[in-house]
């Protein structure tokens, strides 16, 4: 009865559940998955494993936030994996080859990432190249540049404090990188829910022409979103570098599909205009928990691929069934 009341309210007032919009099905899926794994293994349900999962989803989580923005405005970004690699190589080269301080290297890496996003944004707005093509091209080009920086070689050995960002569990709980991810998610959530710039993304994604006629600068919003997505991909690259204590130009290969999958599993519509950060977080967690759980269950790698496919469909299909019943 109580549950019913909450739902009633949720659908009329802008309650919590309705804020997750399309993600209630996936949320149920996530909970079911966790319950199943807690029963099926004796290692899943532990603080240590929980923290491991958080560690494991940092990179995906940060990238998925940027991708949520892009998909909300009805775009898509296939270049995130390559931009991540580019950012890593720029940072590694600046710090270890050019010998600049780490802080400067990180800033430069983020600037270069942002610049690649700017190029994509300009292609999409000024030259009307479909986002799929513009970012596919950037995916190829950024990977090429990342490779050219060191002629395909990796760079290892950063200052100790840098690596410790991904390892030291402050207060015994969160590493700096996990904390960073949580901050990024929180800021993005507040931005999308409560800032007028955030609401503009929904308007642009809902119908760009309506948004333009309502006085929203659609081109500026679009470029801004691609820059933000690229900078976040770059930031994910820095996190990855800390996690691996090395950078290599082949990093992040294939991450674009993972990232898009996380966002879409979280209920954000690929046609734009509807979705939420909360949903994306659920999508990221589903992927993270699933990979972790299948390893803990000692499922053979090939069978894992099959199960991942099935669970993704179930998580998203559950949402449809729920809606149909409602």
């Amino acid at each position: 009865m109580v549950a019913l009341d909450v739902k009633e309210q949720g659908s009329t007032s802008m309650g919590l559940l309705s804020r997750l919009s399309g993600a209630t099905g996936p949320l149920i899926g996530l909970i079911a998955l966790c319950i199943f794994l807690s029963i099926g293994t004796d290692t899943f349900l532990s603080v240590r494993n929980g923290l491991n999962i958080l560690d494991q989803i940092t990179v995906l989580g940060i990238m998925a936030v940027g991708m949520t923005f892009v998909i909300l405005i009805g775009g898509i970004d296939l270049s995130v994996g390559s931009v991540l690699a580019l950012s890593m190589m720029v940072m590694g080269w600046t710090a270890n080859v050019a010998g600049l301080p780490m802080g400067a290297a990180i800033v430069l890496a983020l600037i270069v990432s942002g610049f690649s996003g700017l190029l994509v944004g300009i292609m999409v707005t000024a030259f009307r190249v479909p986002a799929f093509i513009a970012t596919l091209a950037m995916m190829s080009a950024a990977r090429g540049v990342a490779n050219m920086i060191t002629d395909g070689q990796q760079i290892v050995g950063f200052p100790d404090w840098f690596m410790m960002l991904a390892i030291d569990r402050h207060f015994g709980v969160l590493t700096a990188t996990v904390f960073l991810m949580l901050v990024v998610v929180a800021i993005a959530w507040v931005f999308l829910q409560f800032r007028s710039e955030g609401r503009m993304l929904y308007a642009v994604g809902g119908n760009p022409e309506v948004a333009r006629l309502a006085g929203i600068k659609v081109h500026v919003v679009t470029i801004g979103v691609y820059v933000a997505c690229a900078v976040l991909a770059g930031l994910a690259g820095i996190v990855l570098a800390a996690r691996l204590d090395s950078v290599q130009p082949s990093s992040g290969f294939g991450y674009e599909l993972d990232t898009i999958a996380a966002v879409v599993i979280g209920g954000t519509s690929l046609s734009g205009g509807s979705g939420s950060i909360g949903g994306t977080l659920i999508g990221v967690l589903i992927i993270g928990v699933l990979r972790n759980g299948l390893n803990l269950l000692n499922v053979s790698p090939f069978l894992q691929q099959v199960i991942i496919g099935v669970v993704i469909v179930l998580a998203v299909g559950a949402e449809t069934l729920r809606r149909r019943r409602a």
């Binding site: 560690d55 002629d151 290892v156 996690r243 691996l244 290969f253 390893n295």
Partner: protein, 286 residues
């Protein structure tokens, strides 16, 4: 102390070389009554870090680590050592954080052997092309190094073209060779840095049907490639001792956990394999 459970982190099961090691490890462990938990990083370094974390959560007694990515990452070894789990590295070793022991093939000398052989087949001179593996990866660098030693020793050999593959795959080998033959029809020596690439190159040569004889060398000794070698599809490969690597890795795990000292590095030779000696390798892969 006994080994009950081993974690096996494989770089990429899609590559026959790694898959053979995996199968050998699992077979040997089964014989000894040890449980193996296998994870496949599909070639992605960060994924492998996640997977090693998951393995450690399951309280494994030893980790057999075949690094993914262009070069070995240090973090999995550090993580394992923090959890007091010994690490056996196979194929690649990280500079900053080596495993307790490292088992690999001496790629440089083996590659030299392959290139010596194909150059000799071509009569010590001619136009040579190299189909590299994924640029910048350890095997690519080592195999190039070894082969170049052979090339330098034969001034009659001229390298006319080099291309790099991304996935070490047969399809790429085919495409690259087809284009190379187009640009340089007079090639007579081909070194492809993996058997997949070599098989693809051989197929491309068959399609182009050139007038001259072209000597093709590969590397790895993949099961399928050995069959092809027997049928004369290409000329020579260096068979890595994958079965032995797998067996050794399990053995080392037992020894280290039992408190024995083991050498830090154990390099195995890859055996030069041609039509003459291939039958033995097919019957019983080393």
């Amino acid at each position: 102390k006994d080994v009950k459970k081993i974690g096996l982190a494989v770089a990429n099961l899609q590559a026959n070389f790694f898959n053979q090691i995996k199968q050998s490890v699992e077979a040997e462990a089964k014989k000894r009554g040890i449980e193996v938990v296998t994870v496949d990083a599909k070639g992605d370094g960060p994924t492998q870090v996640n997977q090693v974390q998951d393995l450690l959560t399951q309280n494994i007694d030893a980790l057999i680590y075949i690094p993914a990515g262009a070069a070995a990452a240090t973090v999995p070894v550090k993580l394992a050592h923090t959890a007091k789990v010994p690490v056996i590295n196979i194929d690649r070793n990280a500079v900053g954080a080596p495993g307790d022991t490292f088992i690999a093939t001496n790629s440089v000398s083996s590659a030299k052997g392959v290139c010596d052989y194909i150059i000799k087949q071509a009569g010590g001179k001619g136009n040579m092309v190299i189909i590299h593996g994924q640029k910048g990866t350890t095997p690519e660098v080592d195999r190039t190094k070894g082969c170049m030693e052979a090339v330098k020793a034969n001034p009659g050999v001229k390298i006319v073209a080099e291309q790099w593959s991304n996935l070490w795959s047969q399809d790429e080998g085919f495409q690259i060779m087809q284009n190379m033959l187009q640009a340089h029809p007079d090639v007579n020596i081909v070194f492809a840095q993996a058997d997949g690439l070599a098989l693809g190159a051989a197929q491309a040569i068959k399609v182009a049907n050139p007038s001259q004889k072209i000597a093709v060398g590969g590397f790895d000794g993949d099961t399928a490639a050995l069959e092809a070698l027997k049928n004369g599809v290409f000329d020579v490969t260096a068979t890595q001792q994958t079965q032995k690597m797998g067996r050794m890795a399990v053995e080392m795990a037992v020894k280290i956990v039992g408190g024995e000292k083991v050498p830090a590095e154990q390099l195995l030779d890859a055996t030069l394999t041609t039509k003459d000696n291939v039958a033995g390798f097919i019957a019983n892969h080393p």
